[in-house]
């Protein structure tokens, strides 16, 4: 147990050292890619990924800061991969499996939103979309922060070649979601898989 705590302290120290070397970079309007998942941004975003603690496949962009708007652009997840890294083995996070039904795909995303710390995650207006030649889904999300703030969101999911490509947007329902909804919808409409 003591060794574990010492390891944690060492990890925190290492993280502090590393974070001193990275910074938040501006991502200009135009083409942007998270691995093979390509989109076109209509305005300048900031890449918050180095501070998100998320896997490398998950890019986190924001305009006003991650508490006010967060746009996750996720490269194609392979079997067993996740959006949210588990903190401990005993607290696993949702993992993607090829062959999930559309409802299971939505469940995977909403459970991942819960794993990010949001409460009372619900979906609405599940609808079909096309991403290039591939069929996909888009769904609205409603949730709350632990403190009780209403969050609105939208997620887009497309399975291409046994990989799941996800775009997830979350922002406070009051002002912030509406202020960027048009931009996010255009980003989602622009999504393609490289190749």
């Amino acid at each position: 147990m003591i060794a574990r705590h010492l390891r944690t302290l060492a990890a925190v120290a290492a993280l502090l050292t590393l974070t001193a070397c990275v910074s938040i970079k501006a991502v200009p309007a135009g083409p942007y890619a998270s691995g093979g998942h390509q989109v076109t941004l209509g305005k300048t975003w900031a890449d918050f990924s180095p501070f998100s603690g998320a896997p490398k496949t998950v890019k986190l962009l924001t305009i006003d800061g991650p508490l006010l708007n967060r746009l996750y652009i996720i490269d194609g997840l392979k079997s067993g991969e996740f959006i949210v890294k588990p903190a401990r083995k005993e607290q696993p996070t949702p993992t993607w499996r090829p062959g999930m039904t559309p409802v299971e795909q939505v469940e995977f995303v909403t459970d991942s939103v819960s794993a990010l710390g949001y409460q009372r995650v619900e979906t609405d207006e599940l609808r079909p979309i096309k991403m290039g030649a591939s069929d996909g889904l888009r769904v609205n999300i409603a949730a709350k922060t632990a403190g009780g703030l209403d969050i609105a969101g939208v997620a887009q999911l497309t399975e291409v070649g046994d990989r799941l490509y996800v775009i997830l947007y979350l922002a406070p329902a009051e002002h912030y979601f509406g202020a960027t909804q048009g931009e996010v919808e255009a980003v989602m409409n622009s999504a393609r898989v490289a190749g």
């Binding site: 147990m1 705590h5 005993e90 819960s114 599940l126 403190g147």
Partner: protein, 397 residues
């Protein structure tokens, strides 16, 4: 001086300091009803912090706002809290873990994971009595004073040791001392809570029954580390091992007559939580410890009630777990649920999907059609309609 003797010496000093600080804390007398500490005292400061936390809790997303459930739990709390009824304020929080906690000012949280695992009003009464005892006997204040004393001793030793790994060990030893004291408080609260619950007419066998069920659920975990929690011995073993608590509660209950209305209060309890059963089971599945969830469902099903909901969530646990053979087990559970009038509407969609995976399109069609008939406004109707179209196209009907 080599490092090993230095460590041994340090640990000896810490243990001595730990016992010394424990001895410093006086046994707290039962608090006077309605007494509020002076804000200028350390206890007054703790109460002020608790007041703030309570205000924040009222706007938390996890707060369960069902007035009927809250009134029920508060009613049971009042029965066991007796003269402290007006001072203990219970809030139900939708969190899928077995927990209840009492703040120094009488603000108590009861988590949904606890309500889901409690099988009767008697078991709930014991837990509420346990928490009320923490309040009535000022355990928080005692823990706070001990923590300060241990922190001071630990700080002194760390300075003397010159920091580094030895300093960390000393710090961790001091921290473990705090938890050792709370173990005594937990045992104390078990005894006092038992007294409050039985005095209010609740079943004396219920407390040990509850801990036995928790012990068995822990043993059913998917994770080895969790399974070992019950018997794990370390300097951070914060609570008495469950076997000790069970033995102590069995001893208290020995010779006492069972409560005359045990079955009636069990039925009353289930009726109170029934509106939340499905949502709490869905929350529990998000913990992704399916062994524990399945054990819990079996315990809830033993009473022969709510079987449509319980069989459905059993199927959900197997569907999500995805181990070899789980698909068949999920299908069997869904089929069992489909015979029950209280099965959730989503059952029929899941049953259809599972029948498709089992290459039984006719059965899948029947399930999908039932879903569409029942879920008139469902957002996923178009998906089920597409599945039906596919079945009808491929089967030629």
């Amino acid at each position: 001086m080599s490092r090993r003797p230095a460590l041994r010496a340090a640990v000896s000093v810490i243990l001595a300091a730990s016992f010394a600080t424990t001895a410093l804390t006086p046994a707290f007398a039962q608090r006077a009803v309605g007494a509020r500490p002076d804000i200028a005292t350390d206890e007054g400061g703790l109460w002020a912090q608790s007041d703030k936390a309570e205000t924040e809790a009222r706007s938390k997303a996890e707060l369960n706002t069902d007035p009927a459930l809250t009134a029920y739990v508060r009613g049971v709390s009042c029965k066991v809290a007796a003269e402290y009824c007006g001072e203990v304020r219970v809030y139900v929080m939708d969190r899928p873990y077995f927990n209840a906690q009492m703040a120094p000012n009488g603000y108590m949280e009861v988590w949904s994971g606890l309500l889901l695992r409690v099988r009767s009003e008697s078991e709930l009464a014991f837990v509420l009595g346990h928490e009320t005892s923490h309040f009535a006997h000022g355990h928080s204040l005692a823990a706070w004073r001990d923590m300060k004393a241990r922190a001071n001793v630990g700080m002194f030793l760390m300075v003397a040791a010159g920091g580094g790994a030895l300093g960390n060990l000393l710090y961790l030893g001091a921290v473990s001392g705090m938890f050792a004291f709370s173990r005594e408080q937990e045992e104390d609260a078990d005894q006092l809570g038992f007294g409050l619950a039985t005095k209010a007419g609740y079943d004396p066998a219920a407390p040990a029954t509850l801990w036995r069920a928790l012990k068995a659920e822990t043993a059913s975990s998917d994770f080895e580390k969790v399974r070992k929690q019950d018997t794990r011995a370390s300097i951070f073993a914060t609570h008495p091992v469950t076997s000790d608590r069970i033995a102590a509660l069995d001893k208290l209950a020995a010779g006492l007559p069972p409560a005359p209305a045990a079955e009636a209060e069990r039925v009353r309890y289930r009726a109170a939580i029934r509106p939340h059963l499905a949502a709490w089971l869905a929350d529990d599945l998000r913990r992704r410890d399916y062994g524990q969830t399945l054990h819990l469902i079996d315990r809830l099903a033993a009473d022969g009630e709510d079987l449509g909901v319980l069989e459905f969530y059993k199927g959900e646990a197997y569907r999500r777990r995805r181990l070899d053979g789980d698909q068949d087990k999920a299908l069997a559970a869904y089929v069992a649920a489909s015979a029950r009038p209280d099965a959730p509407v989503a059952l029929w969609r899941e049953l259809g999907d599972m029948q498709m995976k089992a290459s039984a399109p006719d059965k899948a069609r029947a399930a999908y059609e039932t879903y569409l008939a029942k879920a008139v406004d469902a957002q996923d109707r178009w998906i089920v309609e597409a599945s039906l179209k596919k079945i009808n196209g491929t089967s030629g009907t």
